[in-house]
């Protein structure tokens, strides 16, 4: 019997089985290992030109293979809890996973020249995976009657993912079939904004409103501050898109301004919201946390959030500078720095929690159940942070100096980061309650 009126209820039957997020989480470190191997093999040639297929492959290994892989797995779990509604046809998640894995693997192999497959077909696989994901998870999130910025942010993130994938598909078709729909830089600018700021930024900010107060015992942020970040991010996604639509409807209709400049200035509100305001708010909130115990996942949040404003500054310089190293540095900091570190840290919280929740919590009171924090040694997470930060710093140095050995050393450190991550995810997922005592009693 409950006296709590109007509260969203989650039946355990509605929660997706552990294997669904687990398969996504297990695959994500493989992308990091693959990226490390590519860097080790290619050395500094991976930082020569933005237009090299190898660079395109590495970038999508990071954005799709690692970030999107984790974010999709996490959303399958979080969306029903936050939205209060189950994801329909949840078993389709396995198909999404297979399509995404096949698409990313094929993309990387074809772009690095290791396989003669059609790159466009692999982009299509990724697009189908994203479409299936957005339709099913979006159904749960769209139906949600839960008010609040987390659900609104999830809606924005899903909308942005759909846009980013559609733009990517159109661009891929243009690249590989010789019919690019417009100016390369303009389209890439809009694609970047929707993918990095809308999809990745939208989800990181939305999830942070929920998990930071829960995990680190901070105060709830005032609603208007969260709404401001959400509004700025939405504006920053919509304005470049409108510029793109306008350029298609009225070619040359940007009053003498370069369309790329229009798209970049349109993205400024999202840059302000995601890379300046959000980190400021969360870092300030974390300083006032009630729980002072140091936790490795907290370091990930702090490191990632501190990198956000640096990413914004480098993005600005990269936009105006002719030296392509700035663009590389921006991509490196945004994908492997800001987003990569936060996502890596979140895994260290989500995986043990899911294992504890699904496998151990039903047996509380019947057998001895370990505490969640004992399922994953904190030292392994800290080691992962060390590898991750070291590879980030060395990678930045490799981009600046274009030294092949520093680039290869970065590859080694990325390999170590991926192996460490894969190792502790497998270790945590293999933990099972000891039911022998229960069997003896019965």
């Amino acid at each position: 019997m409950s006296f709590l009126a109007g509260m969203n209820r989650l039946s355990l039957d509605q929660a997706p089985p552990l294997e669904i997020p687990a398969t996504f989480f297990l695959t994500a470190p493989v992308a990091v290992i693959a990226a490390g191997a590519v860097l080790l093999w290619a050395g500094a040639s991976a930082f020569q030109s933005n237009w090299l297929p190898l660079v395109l492959g590495l970038t999508h290994l990071g954005t799709l293979g690692f970030l999107t892989m984790v974010m999709m797995g996490a959303l399958y779990q979080i969306a029903p809890v936050v939205a209060g509604a189950p994801v329909p046809f949840i078993r389709l998640a396995h198909l999404v996973h297979v399509l995404l894995c096949a698409g990313v693997a094929g993309l990387v192999l074809s772009l690095t020249g290791l396989w003669e497959g059609s790159t466009f077909n692999f982009f299509t696989l990724v697009a189908v995976a994203a479409l299936l994901f957005v339709v099913t998870v979006g159904f749960a999130v769209a139906r949600s009657k839960t008010p609040g910025e987390t659900v609104a942010g999830m809606r924005l993130a899903l909308f942005s993912l759909l846009l980013a994938v559609l733009l990517g598909l159109i661009m891929a078709r243009g690249f590989f079939h010789g019919a690019f729909p417009g100016m390369h830089n303009f389209w890439i600018q809009v694609h970047l904004t929707t993918a990095l700021l809308g999809w990745v930024g939208g989800l990181i900010t939305a999830v942070s409103w929920q998990v930071v107060p829960m995990f680190y015992l901070t105060a709830e942020l005032p609603s208007f501050r969260k709404k401001t970040v959400l509004l700025l991010t939405t504006l920053g996604v919509v304005l470049p898109l409108m510029a793109l639509l306008a350029s298609q409807a009225v070619p040359g209709g940007t009053s003498g301004w370069s369309p790329t400049h229009v798209a970049a200035f349109g993205a400024l509100p999202a840059v302000l919201g995601v890379w300046l305001l959000h980190p400021g708010l969360i870092l300030q909130n974390l300083r006032g946390r009630r729980r002072k115990r140091l936790d490795a996942s907290l370091f990930f949040w702090q490191a990632g959030l501190c990198l956000a404003p640096v990413t914004a500054v480098v993005a600005g310089i990269a936009f105006f500078a002719d030296d392509p190293r700035w663009a590389f540095l921006f991509g490196w900091l945004a994908i492997w720095g800001w987003a990569g570190i936060i996502v890596h840290g979140m895994l260290s919280r989500i995986v043990p929690f899911l294992v504890w929740f699904h496998r151990f919590s039903p047996h509380i009171g019947r057998i001895r159940v370990p505490a969640m924090r004992n399922l994953l040694p904190d030292s392994w997470t800290k080691l992962g942070l060390g590898f991750h930060v070291a590879s980030l710093v060395l990678g930045a140095l490799a981009i600046i100096t274009r030294d092949p050995w520093i680039a290869r050393a970065t590859g080694v450190l990325m390999l170590a980061t991926g192996v460490n991550l894969l190792h502790w995810i497998i270790y945590t997922l293999r933990q099972q309650p000891d039911l022998s005592a229960l069997a003896t009693d019965e």
Binding site: M1, S2, F3, L4, A5, M7, N8, R9, L10, S11, L12, V81, P213, M214, F215, Y216, L217, A219, E220, R290, R291, D295, F353, W356, F357, S361, P362, I364, G365, R366, V369, A371, M372, R373
Partner: protein, 159 residues
């Protein structure tokens, strides 16, 4: 101010005496009426603009336990517990999911008709279906700042 979520006969009740006092009414009859509706193992949360010392004395003499806390200027909260009610265990300084872990561990040891009263940092949505699986009755009162008080009652053997 706590959100009104409890209903009649709930083990968790609340009363904000400030509007009554502003209108010149004595809130004592309302408080006594609510205490009559309170289950013997429940909790009444009273909000007042000052520490109600005479009330504390009066109800203390009747066997209630009262915990007054100053939340801010002209803002007091008094927890009123009947003699049979357990103390409120405070888990507000534990990050998620430790309150969930602690509560689940404690409630599985509750005897039949036993009660656990706990204060947690957030309304633990994931806990409620798990409590129902253990055949435990629960009610919750959300407080200002997002924390919540949960009353958990084992009415029968979970088997």
């Amino acid at each position: 101010m706590p959100r009104t979520t409890a209903t009649a006969n709930s083990p968790l009740l609340q009363l904000d005496a400030r509007p009554l006092l502003e209108q010149g009414h004595d809130p004592l009859p309302d408080i006594l009426q609510m205490l009559d509706r309170l289950t013997p193992d429940g909790l009444l949360v009273l909000t007042a603009p000052f520490c109600p010392d005479p009330l504390i004395t009066l109800l203390g003499e009747r066997g209630y336990r009262l915990n007054p806390v100053e939340l801010g200027p002209n803002h007091w909260q008094v927890e009123i517990l009947p003699s049979a009610a357990p103390e409120i265990t405070d888990y507000r300084n534990l990050p998620a999911p430790e309150p969930l872990e602690k509560i689940l561990t404690e409630v599985t040891q509750l005897p039949i008709d036993g009660v656990l009263l706990a204060r947690v940092p957030h309304v633990p949505g994931l806990l409620f279906p798990m409590l129902e699986e253990h055949k435990l009755a629960w009610s919750v009162l959300e407080e200002s700042g997002g924390s919540a008080i949960i009353h958990i009652h084992r009415k029968e053997d979970a088997g």
